[in-house]
Amino acid sequence: MGTETKSQTTTAQKFQALILDIFFGIYFVVTLHRVFYYQVLLSLRKLPPVTVEIVLLYIGIGTIMGLALFFLNASPGKRIFRQLPDIPWKKAVAEHFLWIIGVLTIATGWVVTRVSILDFFSQEGLAGAKRIFSALLSPEWSILPQALLAIVETIYLALMATLFALPVAFILSFFTARNLMRQSPITLGIYTVLRVLVNFTRSIEPLIWAIIFTVWVGIGPFAGTLALMVHTIASLTKLYSEQIENVDPGPIEAIEATGAHPMQVIWFAVVPQIVLPFLSFTIYRWDINVRMATIIGLVGGGGIGTLLMQYQGLAQWHEVGLLVLIIAIVVWIMDYLSARIREALV
């Protein structure tokens, strides 16, 4: 049996190595041609369009390269799984190929993000940096009342999102805790569906949710609150349910053994073990939400982020300076307070 499983894993790995080789081949051809040839060698600003023929050519040449490397045993894929036979020159080919892939990747990254030392240190650039930093250092205090009002709006927005999300996440977390839901196929089905939904919701950033909701309910704090709330429900549900999955099963057994109803078991054996961690997660989440609410404001979710966006659009850098200062102070205070409260809880 041992040998069988071994040969199985090697077959699986061989297949993965083959896939990797083909991928490396195509990646190599594409980056070499489009990035290295056009942009580094020819320094083209605008690339020629991608046609179907070109794509087929890339795939064809890349696949042939990958297959050749694979069957000649100079395969970078096999090298990654440490499955190359001990022939020095073939190993060297595979390894050099991997190095070239690495270099090409960094070159591509450089080109894609338009890294330009020239821009960074140009006369004009440095003047701009000087202008914004000096503006930030001499904030415009006259808009202080307006800024405070906006940051208060942001803090409340985060608070409301957290508070509304809390009961929903609390209830959902019991249905997404594996140890409570594995009793019957029905509960396990509910668990699976909810778990997938929660993970999916959580994987969409609050910023994206904000864009969705500004379209849905219009620009303003309400869209921001909804966006934060949805994301907070998903995150808290996940954190809470993990906590429920880690409770000590001993008290559950003990309360079950008294003939208690499942509701009583949850209330007396599960809930006391989770309230403090739940509270601590919730406060932590509020702290995160204040920061996120600022960002969400940038896309029209209301609060200080929206104000910041407006002044930035008008290039009123002294005003921007004041807002940045206030955001920094508030975030720092929230961070400090939430850490302190959480310390006291645990």
Binding site: D248, G250, P251, E253, A254, I255, E256, A257, T258, G259, A260, H261, M263, Q264, W267, F268, A269, P272, Q273
Partner: protein, 254 residues
């Protein structure tokens, strides 16, 4: 009629471990039955099958002649009410008071909503205080249980199970995390329940010396099979070696 009867009971865990193999066992009312066996021999599994915290894979459990192997819901909860249980790790609700922990023993007889709001009737509170008196902890009623010593916590657990008015008490290695002196004090409370109230006790134990002092009958498990049944004094050197293996040496607990 026997109080509890297990017929050809088998438990196979999802991971394939065969923890109980064709166990036939009869428990009479008023017995102090001790279950011994090496770690992993299936003692805890056996106890948890009796009150159905674990579902047996096959076989039958009879309680006073009634088949309880497959009862569910309310019927199961009412059956469990008759069977108290205490554990090696006490399994109390930490951070809560002694009194509240004792009161949870009565949950099976209380309606769900009021009990969750912790509205316990006065007579129940008084009864809880009485149970605490039995285990000698009445002056600790308002202390958080995690501030108590191990022996005290086990006595709270005993008081909790007494709130069920159990006919049987299952004890899963009740003294395994206690020192010798405390062990004896806890065992004495169990013995007292057995002799004074006629409560049937089924107790898993590690130490043979405790078995001889407290048990009226002993059964031994080895790899899930019941290999010995008899009086404590019938466990000879040969049986001891059979149960615990050739290498084992008997240790005394003071």
């Amino acid at each position: 009629m026997a109080l509890i009867e297990l017929r050809k009971l088998n438990k196979i865990y999802p991971n394939g471990v065969h923890a109980l193999v064709d166990v036939d066992l009869t428990v009479q009312e008023g017995e102090f039955l001790v279950v011994i066996g090496l770690s992993g021999s299936g003692k805890s599994t056996l106890l948890r099958c009796i009150n159905r915290l674990i579902e047996p894979t096959s076989g039958q459990i009879l309680y006073r002649g009634q088949d309880v192997t497959h009862i569910q819901g309310k019927e199961l909860r009412q059956y469990r009410k008759k069977i108290g249980m205490i554990f090696q790790q006490f399994n109390l609700i930490k951070r809560r008071t002694v009194l509240l922990n004792v009161l949870t023993g009565a949950l099976g007889s209380l309606p769900v909503l009021p009990s969750i709001l912790e509205r316990f009737p006065d007579n129940l509170r008084q009864e809880a205080m009485e149970k605490l008196r039995i285990v000698g902890l009445e002056d600790k009623w308002n202390v958080r249980v995690d501030a108590l010593s191990g022996g005290q916590q086990q006595r709270v657990a005993i008081a909790r199970s007494l709130m069920q008015h159990p006919e049987v008490l299952l004890a899963d290695e009740p003294v395994a995390s206690l020192d010798p002196a405390t062990s004896h004090s806890v065992m004495k409370y169990l013995k007292q329940l057995n002799t004074d109230y006629g409560m049937t006790i089924i107790c898993n134990l590690h130490f043979l010396s405790l078995v001889r002092t407290y048990g009226t009958r002993v059964v031994a498990l080895k790899q899930g099979k019941l290999i010995f049944q008899g009086k404590p004094e019938e466990i000879t050197q040969e049986w001891f070696k059979e149960i615990y293996g050739e290498e084992a040496e008997e240790v005394e607990i003071a």
